[in-house]
């Protein structure tokens, strides 16, 4: 009897060890797409007209964000108080955000919305937590852009948001990341459509982020940038926005 009891204990212990080995292996495995920031960003915008628009959020003062919500109260704190959640099954994995946009001088020059839906190819086994992300950028007096990208949040979820939520302690640091993971072969997002000054412009874009703090309540100190790489304009009278 003692021998059987010990054998069962050994089996349970071995099973747990096996589970933990696999989980820690996937957690630590250097999935190739995780290192894309260093591969893609150095050449971004080479030979192109680059425009950068930023949004931010802070813990101690208002940022540019006007509204954010998703399917539940986590991971990002819904804002403002009373904003409804995306609780219906068809949109539960998504996100809806409104933000003002700053130019490179820090001045507010436009408005943007970010709408996300969960990407059907997201897999833990491949280290991909992806969304279909659509940005709509309107720069009054200049025009609008509809931008589409596939976005991956594996590192954000496993190294920042997950640990903060599990431990109940805030994450602090300086994490810079290229969020965009396509769909274009060079890793950029694509311009779906554009109007006004941008109507005849061709180009691509990426979304980058710098996270400085994330609290267990889902509040953040962060900056994100939308970086447009536009083919040089052929129209000598066109105005570079804004």
């Amino acid at each position: 009897m003692p021998s059987t009891f010990i054998r069962v204990l050994v089996a349970i212990g071995g099973f747990i060890v096996g589970v933990l080995l696999v989980l820690s292996g996937f957690y630590l495995y250097p999935f190739p797409h995780v290192s894309r920031t260093a591969r893609v960003m150095p050449d971004f915008g080479a030979g192109k007209d680059v425009e950068v628009y930023a949004l931010d959020g802070h813990l101690d003062r208002p940022g540019t964000t006007v509204s954010i919500t998703q399917g539940s109260e986590t991971p990002f704190a819904p804002q403002p108080s009373g904003v409804q959640l995306l609780s219906e099954p068809a949109i539960h994995g998504g996100l809806a955000l409104i933000t003002r946009l700053r130019d490179e001088r820090g001045e507010i020059v436009g408005i943007a919305t970010e709408l996300e839906s969960v990407h059907e190819d997201s897999r833990l086994l491949t280290g991909k937590l992806m969304t279909h992300t659509t940005w709509t950028v309107v720069l009054p007096g200049h025009g609008g852009l509809f931008l589409y990208q596939v976005e991956d949040n594996w590192w954000l979820a496993t190294r920042i948001v997950g640990p903060a939520l599990l431990t109940g302690r805030p994450w602090r640091g300086q994490w810079r990341n290229l969020n965009t993971l396509g769909p274009l072969p060079n890793g950029h997002g694509r311009i779906v459509a554009a109007t006004g000054d941008y109507a005849e412009r061709r180009g691509t874009f990426v979304e980058t982020a710098e996270m400085r703090e994330f609290t267990p309540t889902g509040k953040m100190d962060f900056t994100m940038e939308l970086r447009l790489a536009l083919e040089p304009s052929m129209d000598p009278n066109s105005t570079s926005a804004p």
């Binding site: 071995g14 919500t69 809806a96 709408l115 897999r123």
Partner: protein, 174 residues
């Protein structure tokens, strides 16, 4: 005993791999299009609706703030602009996507344009545009992704008294 431990480790590892592989991160529910019976040759028509309760957030010139405490847009460059995010329903009343609507001056001509963006889950993204808000029904589809890739055709919005919308899109068949 050592053999038992080794077998258990392998079983645990296999169970973990199966668990990771079968974990459904997406939970995507398919929402097929509800097209109207064919009208003009070469087009297909679909209607969506947004009810007053579907407004997620709204702020800016001429819009009732939703929710009540939402930030106002006081920046000089955003004067006269308004923006909203909303849930979108099909004609059966089911929520099938999310949308944003932005109204602003396209260029410095005093004409207010409207940019609509629809994210309809696995169906993809659709971009629509009304170059002059004052001209009812004169909108156009500008393109999209996936099932809306290269979408073109007509788009119209009909504002309801309660703040909702009735939307109609007539796509040219590729």
């Amino acid at each position: 005993m050592g053999r038992t431990f080794l077998i258990a480790v392998l079983a645990g590892a296999l169970a973990a791999v199966i668990g990771l592989a079968s974990f459904d991160l997406a939970g995507v529910s398919q929402q097929p299009a509800q097209l109207e019976p064919a009208g003009d040759a070469g087009t297909s028509t679909e209607r969506w609706m947004i009810e007053a309760r579907d407004r997620i957030a709204a702020t800016g010139d001429g819009l009732q703030p939703v929710p009540a405490g939402i930030a106002t847009l006081r920046d000089a460059r955003l004067a006269g602009l308004n923006v909203a995010t909303m849930k979108v329903r099909n004609v059966s009343g089911e929520v099938v996507g999310v949308a944003s609507r932005i109204t602003a001056n396209e260029q410095d001509l005093g004409v207010r344009a409207v940019w609509w963006t629809f994210v309809m889950g696995t169906r993809g993204t659709l971009a629509a545009y009304l170059p002059d808000q004052a001209v009812t029904g004169a909108g156009q589809l500008l393109g999209g992704t996936r099932s809306f890739d290269r979408a073109s055709g007509q788009f119209s919005e009909e504002r309801q008294a309660d703040g909702g919308y009735r939307l109609r899109l007539t796509r040219m068949k590729p």
